[in-house]
């Protein structure tokens, strides 16, 4: 019965099948598998191994998961793990190893009845794809991954992303920026790539490809040897990619979120790498092996930013669910929740001495206590929503849709300096203390670099290879 309950969408065709079987004497039903296996032709060409992980899972992700996934389980049926695909018992089983013709999963790809055929309201699968499914079932519907409970997105081999355009037809918004630890280089988000620029001259140094369409966060390892990118395809995929910074060699692909990764951070000791995703989850990985240590699914909407506490024991998060939270990393349990913004929260950093700063759509920065989530004070004066925050020892930097980067002194929170881009929305921000530089990336594709010594604009360039003028 469980099969029918979970796979509600199959109920109708299940009924038909059972109708046929229920007429047959019991001994015939017992014999049926045998009879079928005898009558099924086994062709020599079909013996090429079909991998669930490499061949079947990608089809399920592309064709089924929009409706039968975590977010929308039509007919109360999910197809996001191998385990889910294999639901059902007896003749009602979704997949019957060795017998594609008896497997509803296969039947529903083929049926002529438009009300039953999957995917619904869309073109049928390509004949080659249906053939793959058939052969995989014939070969025993085996699982060749590590854990049948893993989501398909986690299971499939990392994608090879399409190459970036040689020359950009239009500038793309700069959603991520990060100075290298030595301050010489500035990494920026590109379209299906990362771009690395000379921080002093604004010259393009190199391009790192095989990245998902959009990158929302960049983080360097403390030794400057590795560069992590939080990227994804909106509504479809989120992942962090770890590159060798000098060569652009892909070292690791971490995670497979259901939506883009919006922030990525190394822990203070460099051992962990954390990702925050628009699918509402936070994941922690071993920075050297890439093994996943923990998933925190606590927010009700996209997680937009995360920050490690200076001692590395806690992680703070900001979310579109209008809250910010602090988690204990040893347990993954929330320590405190802050709901004072009453609007989407976009930026979060730890200050010194028990302080968390968060920034959001309410055009304010709030200061609150990570132990109890109680508000201490706030910073006003922004002309639009505030996106990212960076804290150094003595200052808090922020970038806003009002076109300015602001520098507030700490701990007194006085506005010390405004770095103005004009009126462009500034999505991204990076600060390098030693070289006294602050950089911000705008919606129009431009990167601004200012000197924190005197507030002067040092550089401005369009970070889209092949383009010199900003968009719009």
């Amino acid at each position: 019965m469980r099969g029918v309950e979970t796979a509600g969408i199959f109920i109708r065709s299940a009924g038909r099948q059972e109708g046929v079987f229920s007429c047959a004497p019991a001994f015939l039903i017992k014999l049926l598998p045998f009879l079928l296996s005898v009558t099924l032709p086994v062709s020599g060409a079909d013996k090429k191994f079909v991998s669930f992980r490499a061949d079947i899972a990608p089809i399920l992700i592309a064709q089924c998961q929009a409706c039968h996934g975590e977010k929308s389980a039509k007919g109360n049926y999910r197809l996001d793990t191998y385990e889910a695909l294999m639901v059902g018992k007896g003749a009602g089983r979704n997949v019957i190893a060795g017998k594609p013709a008896a497997s509803k999963f296969h039947q529903l790809l083929l049926t002529k009845d438009a009300d039953d055929r999957m995917p619904q309201k869309a073109d049928p699968l390509l004949p080659a794809q249906i053939e793959l499914v058939k052969r995989w079932i014939e070969q025993g519907a085996k699982f060749d991954g590590a854990d049948p409970k893993l989501t398909l997105a986690e299971l499939v081999p990392p994608r090879e992303h399409a190459p970036a355009p040689k020359v950009y037809a239009a500038a793309v918004p700069i959603t991520a920026l990060a100075f290298s630890p030595d301050g010489k280089e500035l990494a920026a988000s590109g379209f299906r790539e990362l771009t690395v620029w000379d921080a002093a001259s604004g010259q393009l140094l190199r391009r790192i490809g095989n990245v998902a369409a959009r990158t929302y966060a960049l983080a360097w390892s403390t030794d400057g040897k590795r560069l992590a990118a939080g990227s994804g395809i909106p509504g479809e995929l989120g992942e962090a990619r770890l590159f060798e910074a000098d060569t652009g060699k892909l070292l690791k692909v971490l995670g497979a979120h259901g939506d883009v990764v919006q922030d990525v951070k190394f822990s203070p000791d460099g051992q962990l790498l954390a990702t925050a995703s628009a699918d509402g989850t936070i994941a922690l990985y071993d920075a050297s092996t890439g093994a996943r240590r923990r998933v925190i699914a606590n927010h009700a909407d996209a997680v937009t930013a995360i920050a490690f506490s200076p001692d590395g024991k806690r992680l703070a998060s900001a979310s579109l669910d209008k809250s910010a939270k602090v988690f204990d990393l040893s347990s993954g349990v929330p320590v405190s929740t802050y709901i004072g913004h009453e609007a989407a929260v976009y930026g979060v950093v730890f200050g010194e001495a028990k302080q968390v700063f968060t920034a959001g759509r309410d055009r304010k920065v709030h200061v609150w206590n990570p132990d109890d989530g109680k508000k201490a004070s706030d910073i006003k004066g922004f002309g639009h929503e505030v996106f990212k925050l960076v804290a150094t020892g003595e200052a808090l930097f922020s970038c806003s849709a009002d076109g300015a980067v602001r520098q507030h002194t700490l701990p007194d929170r006085k506005e010390q300096r405004i770095y103005s881009s004009g009126k462009e929305w500034l999505y991204s921000l990076s600060v390098h203390e030693a070289t006294k530089r602050v950089a911000a990336g705008g919606f129009d594709g431009q990167v601004w670099v200012w000197s924190t010594a005197d507030g002067a604009a040092a550089r401005r360039f369009v970070a889209s290879p092949g383009l010199t003028t900003a968009s719009n």
């Binding site: 409706c67 869309a122 793309v172 929302y216 909106p234 883009v260 996209a302 579109l320 929305w425 968009s471």
Partner: protein, 853 residues
């Protein structure tokens, strides 16, 4: 349709024959609940008639082409001068008898050079540059129009507003139930029906780190992949790659998500073909529309597949996204409202059909009302009902004009009167009765919200007396409205000034004024442009400017307010921050409203005889009161997409009303004397499907106040209301009577809003319980000195007592069978008094009593 469903289980009995035996058997308390359920079912059946209109699936009928005398092809020539241009062709057959029919679906359309453009379903798309002809062949006739395709080299810039936002509207993305909801859906909020492009710019392009659009790879944009369900979308499949909307959205993104320049051409209006008013005869109940948008630079664009279509009545016709109207086979008038961003046009179609065996016959026409109603009935092939009986007429006319039933004496006299003009005489008499003014003050008390909470107990009486006086003097409607709208001073001394007390804020005043006097529900436009109508937010606040200077100040006297206008005070449109000038619909900015009381200027404009709204709204309200349904329904919801069921009739009534100095009694008299008003409520084969064209009288439950008065009248036991003088009737109450359960249960409104909808018409179980076993009816039936006990005391014979009860309740004597059944019951073994009580109780529970018919 509107056949009274009998209260008793055996609903096949013809109405009027009293199934006393059945009724009496069930007057046991234990059975009352069961009975109440049955009665509720009966009431519900009546209510269900109103809710009828389930959309039937549209089925395309084959076109019977016949022999047209010629073809008309619209447009006369087509130019497709960019790769994105398209054009819809509409082919019309004109026949010898002058009738027309849409032949677009039936015609063979061919381009003489098929390489230049493609054509399918009358929809042309360019293929390559050149000139050719479109050949149209159908019904043995031919026509041709020229087609020019040019400029295919360069893609046209997709306008943000007229392309992308129009596309989102077409697909319903920004509708109220989806991303147009105040807080959007799934974190994505658009302005409702694209009324605020500035909000949409941010939401589409900048919000959430430019997540929704991908200028370098438009097809990868979340904005497209979600509605295509390439990725999970809660809203489901809303877009296909071959939709016009897809091409526009993808094009706009690919061109860099550019916003329109300030000086870009703007849309000045839309034009719909065919022109409004076409008559379609079954089976040709389909009509392809073609819609053009006109721009300020003189260009036009075919937006047939980008306009949003809404049918006013899905039970009559539905419309496809491609602009093909498909009738369901029912007869009547339907409006297709065609919307393109803030531009709205309505196309009225009259759907007619030959009914087998239909032969026109009608009672003699008495005046223009009958002429115009009959013209519509004849066109739609509905037969007008026969004239109602004298008994029905006297009951109906009393309830409609003075709210109460005639006395048995009056009824006997009227029934016995042989004069041929006795009905007209009765109408004249009723219009001069003092109860007339009080009953109509009750009706207007609802609209003007006379209740003690709002204007104090003392204030409500003064306001009520002012209203009664207006009706007693038959104050012309225009003067009445001017007095109300321009009133100022003490609310005690100038009771009309209470209008500004019951509408205590500018927005309340303007909404109430619009709803009562212009028949317009403007509330939507407070926060955004009306999603389906031409009302904009600017209009709303423009009307607000008229009332913004009204001031309300308490005085030293308890309960008194002073109403006056200040010399200054402006209203700003909250979205644009612009200060608004006084504005009235149809008039635009009101000139000369600067220096004087703006209300004066508005009231002058409003009450001009040529004002198209003013007379129509009141004429429709009076019509609706008498006929049980407005020509426009609901009566306070005039809009293009809610057409009058008989345009000519409403127009004639309004003109007559204005031409007679807005004399309400004149209009009442005209309608009351018409054969249409005097039609029977019994439907038959040739008019039972008619719900909107007044072929037969509409049966309806008496209102709460009418019913209470009628119960008191039949039992002879008047009701006392608070400390109001004895003899005050429920239909004459100045304000809602708090704590009267009977009135409450039967829907007496609390007068919180000006909406006609505040008087509910849906039946409730509590109503049936009140009728069967309620304390009010029970008490009156058992009272020592009620009508039947007084008669017993006087020693009247049973037959006389029963006859008197019949005359009081039903305005007719009992039929022989009814009298026999009743007599048998009262001469039975039961207590005699109690048995007579049973008869009275049974009468009070008859549909013939409870309903106006």
């Amino acid at each position: 349709m509107s056949r009274v469903t009998n209260l008793q289980p055996n609903s096949h009995r013809p109405r009027g024959r009293l199934p006393l035996a059945v009724m009496l058997r069930h007057r046991a308390p234990s059975l009352c609940l069961l009975f109440a359920w049955i009665a509720l079912g009966a009431l519900c059946a009546v209510a269900a008639e109103k809710a009828e209109g389930e959309a039937k699936p549209a089925r395309l009928q084959a076109i019977n082409v016949g022999r047209p005398v010629r073809l008309e092809v619209h447009p006369l020539a087509i130019t497709l001068d960019s790769p994105q241009r398209r054009a819809q062709v509409v082919v019309t057959g004109v026949y010898a008898d002058g009738s027309v029919q849409d032949l677009t679906r039936a015609a063979t359309l061919k381009l003489s050079d098929a390489r230049v453009a493609s054509v399918a379903g009358g929809w042309l798309a360019p293929l390559r540059e050149g000139k050719t002809d479109l050949l149209v062949k159908v019904g043995g006739r031919e026509a041709k129009i020229s087609v020019v395709v040019a400029n295919l080299g360069a893609a046209e810039t997709v306008s943000f507003k007229y392309g992308a936002l129009a596309a989102l509207s077409k697909q319903g993305c920004n509708s109220g139930g989806c991303h147009g909801a105040p807080s959007g859906k799934g974190g994505f909020a658009l302005s409702l029906a694209a009324f605020d492009p500035e909000v949409d710019k941010v939401a589409l392009v900048r919000e959430h780190f430019n997540r929704r659009v991908d200028v370098l790879e438009p097809a990868a944009s979340l904005l497209l992949r979600k509605p295509l369900v390439e990725v999970a979308h809660r809203g489901g499949l809303r877009l296909r790659t071959n939709d016009t909307a897809y091409a526009l959205l993808a094009g706009w993104i690919g061109q860099g998500c550019r916003f329109d320049r300030e000086d870009a051409p703007h849309c000045t209006g839309i034009a719909v073909h065919p022109p409004t008013g076409r008559v379609l005869k079954w089976p040709a109940h389909t009509q392809q529309l073609q819609v053009l948008a006109k721009f300020s630079d003189g260009t036009t664009r075919d937006i047939t597949r980008l306009a949003v279509y809404v049918s006013s009545d899905e039970a009559l016709a539905s419309i496809t996204p491609e602009g093909l109207t498909i009738g369901t086979g029912a007869r009547g008038q339907v409006a297709v409202s065609v919307r393109y961003l803030e531009h709205v046009e309505a196309c009225y179609l009259t759907l007619v059909k030959d009914v087998p065996g239909f032969r026109w016959a009608a009672p003699a026409e008495r005046n223009y009302v009958d002429r115009l109603v009959n013209a519509k009935l004849r066109q739609l092939q509905f037969l007008p009902a026969e004239t109602c009986s004298d008994a029905e007429f006297i009951r109906r006319a009393h309830l409609d004009v003075i709210g109460i039933l005639p006395s048995p004496e009056e009824t006997r006299k009227f029934l016995a009167d042989p004069a041929p003009d006795k009905r007209a005489k009765l109408v004249d008499t009723l219009l001069e009765r003092p109860e007339y003014a009080r009953f109509w003050a009750l009706k207007w008390g609802d609209l003007l919200r006379l209740n003690a909470q709002q204007v104090t107990a003392a204030g409500v009486n003064k306001y009520h007396r002012w209203l009664v006086r207006a009706f007693a003097e038959n104050q012309p409607y225009d003067s009445f409205v001017r007095e109300l709208l321009t009133a100022q001073g003490s609310t005690f001394e100038q009771p009309a000034a209470n209008f500004y007390r019951t509408t205590a804020t500018t927005t309340d005043t303007l909404e109430t004024t619009a709803q009562i006097f212009l028949g317009a529900r403007l509330q939507c436009a407070k926060c955004h442009n009306h999603p389906y109508e031409r009302w904009t937010q600017d209009n709303y606040y423009g009307m607000g400017a008229i009332f913004e200077r009204v001031r309300r100040k308490p005085t030293a006297r308890a309960g008194e307010q002073l109403i006056y206008t200040a010399r200054h005070g402006e209203i700003t449109q909250p979205r644009t921050g612009k200060e608004m000038k006084p504005w009235a619909p149809g008039a635009g900015e009101l000139p000369g409203a600067e220096d004087t009381d703006r209300r004066e200027v508005f009231a002058q404009w409003l009450t001009r005889p040529e004002n198209p709204f003013f007379a129509r709204v009141e004429a429709n309200r009076i019509w609706s009161h008498l006929m049980g349904q407005g020509i426009v329904e609901p009566v306070d919801d005039f809009r293009d997409s809610n057409p009058p069921s008989n345009v000519e009739l409403l127009e004639a009534l309004a003109q007559d009303f204005a031409a007679h100095q807005f004399d309400r009694k004149h209009l009442l008299r005209t309608i009351l004397n018409s054969a249409t008003y005097q039609a029977s409520s019994r439907a038959e084969h040739f008019n039972e499907d008619d719900t909107r064209n007044f072929s037969h009288a509409r049966q309806r439950l008496l209102t709460a106040e009418q019913l209470l008065d009628a119960v008191c009248h039949v039992t002879g036991m008047p009701e006392r209301f608070g400390n109001l003088p004895a003899g005050t009737l429920a239909t004459q109450l100045p304000a809602p009577e708090p704590g009267n359960a009977f009135l409450g249960v039967f829907g007496q409104p609390q007068r919180i809003s000006a909406c006609a909808c505040e008087r509910p018409s849906a039946p409730q179980l509590a109503q049936a319980l009140q009728l069967f076993n309620g304390p009010l009816i029970h008490g009156k039936l058992q009272a020592k000195d009620n009508r039947l006990r007084r008669a017993l005391t006087e020693g009247q014979p049973d037959a006389d007592i029963i006859t008197e009860l019949y005359l009081a309740a039903l305005c007719r004597p009992p039929k022989a069978g009814e009298l026999a059944t009743a007599l048998k019951h009262v001469t039975g073994p039961a207590n005699h008094e109690r048995a007579l009580e049973d008869i009275a109780w049974a009468l009070l529970n008859l549909n013939e009593f409870l309903f106006q018919h």
